[in-house]
Symmetry: C2
Subunit: 206 residues, 2 copies
DNA sequence: ATGTTTACAATCATTCATGTATGTTTGTAT
DNA sequence: ATACAAACATACATGAATGATTGTAAACAT
């Protein structure tokens, strides 16, 4: 039994990996530290050495990923764009592909939206998702507003409803995909969904 | 203190109302029967008299509502339709309005999708939502398939992706609406979203 | 070589929710 | 009036999870 720095870091990682698995299977509140410890091949003592409590384990997991909502339309907002709707379209499809390619992110994202309870007593997980969603919504609004000023927003949409509808669709896409154990291709469905929505937001050239 | 039949039924209702409130605030796993009892102005004894355990309280709550997924495109599937996509469109908008008008349904629906954990160990709540979603998906597929056979499905969609995309958007709409404490108009956003999606699925007359 | 700290394991005490068992009051049938 | 059952309240017993404490072997610094 050796306990070098690298060993410690390794058990820390193993604890996190075990936590991800157990949280995914039983939900956060249904997972005891004992279960996580035994899955990781250690005792609770090891967990308590590396983390303060279960919440800190969860936080450590969360910090490992970037939410799709945080990645989407990231940057490129300050200066104007000649095609804001096109930017949303491309970036969104890119984000979907990023998520589809990263199993680790999928796991933790699934834990955040399916394995936690969204209660009024906001956990940090819920808070982060809420914040990320709010910021995503603001970004979408800015871009769609640019399109509106350029006269390229279809008349059936307002800036707010368009941003909200797009946000709902994307979140619903991710949620359904993870909830159904990835039973369909997010990329396929996502791309068509995004193109259709953005297409409907584009004012048709008369 | 009287204990007539009506009194018993009343306390049962009060327990359920308290349970809905507490579940909504703290999530299901974060709510003890003691909290629910004190909120209802009774002791745990009363709860155990009317219900077997917490799960049965939750089940009783769930049985009070019909899920939007269960209501949508309900019936009217056996015989053919001249405008299947139009049927989806109208029915979906109707379902959104139904949910928007029923606060009780909103509460319980919110508990089901936000206050519970979707784990592999499927709770009956998760199971019901999963089943309802699966059935909704099948219904959508049937209707969209009819449209496809009639040649009215736009070429950029397949039957499966169209059904899945529509399902994702609707679920995302409800989820976002409840998660943001109904910070926007589901009816407004929902109607535009539905019309846009169905519009994009309609093959344009050449 | 030795002391000190690291990185845990093992043990223990406490809390908390649950389930059950029992007590008590009131309605109701006879 | 009496007996019984309904509708709870109260008290208790249990187990699970937590957090804290202690023990300890190995690594590392001196």
């Amino acid at each position: 039994m050796r306990r070098t720095k690298e060993d410690a870091a390794k058990t820390r990682e193993e604890v996190l990996a075990a936590a991800a698995a157990v949280f995914y299977e039983h939900g956060v509140s249904g997972s005891s530290l004992e279960k996580i410890a035994s899955r990781a091949g250690v005792t609770r003592g090891a967990i308590y050495w590396h983390f303060k409590d279960k919440a800190e384990v969860l936080t450590a997991l969360h910090s490992e990923i970037r939410l799709p909502q945080e990645t989407i339309v990231d940057g490129a907002l300050e200066h104007g764009h000649d095609d804001p709707l096109g930017l949303i379209e491309e970036q969104s499809i890119g984000v979907v592909q990023l998520l589809a390619d990263d199993e680790h992110q999928q796991r933790i994202f699934a834990i955040m939206i399916l394995g936690c309870e969204f209660t009024e007593i906001r956990s940090d997980a819920a808070q982060r998702i809420i914040t990320a969603n709010a910021e995503m919504y603001e970004k979408l609004k800015k871009l769609i507003d640019m399109a509106d000023r350029q006269g390229t927003l279809a008349s059936c949409w307002t800036v707010d409803t368009a941003a909200r509808a797009f946000q709902c669709s994307m979140n619903g896409l991710f949620g359904e995909w993870l909830r159904t154990n990835k039973s369909f291709s997010v990329v396929d469905v996502g791309e068509r969904l995004v193109r259709s929505l953005i297409g409907s937001m584009r004012r048709q050239a008369a």
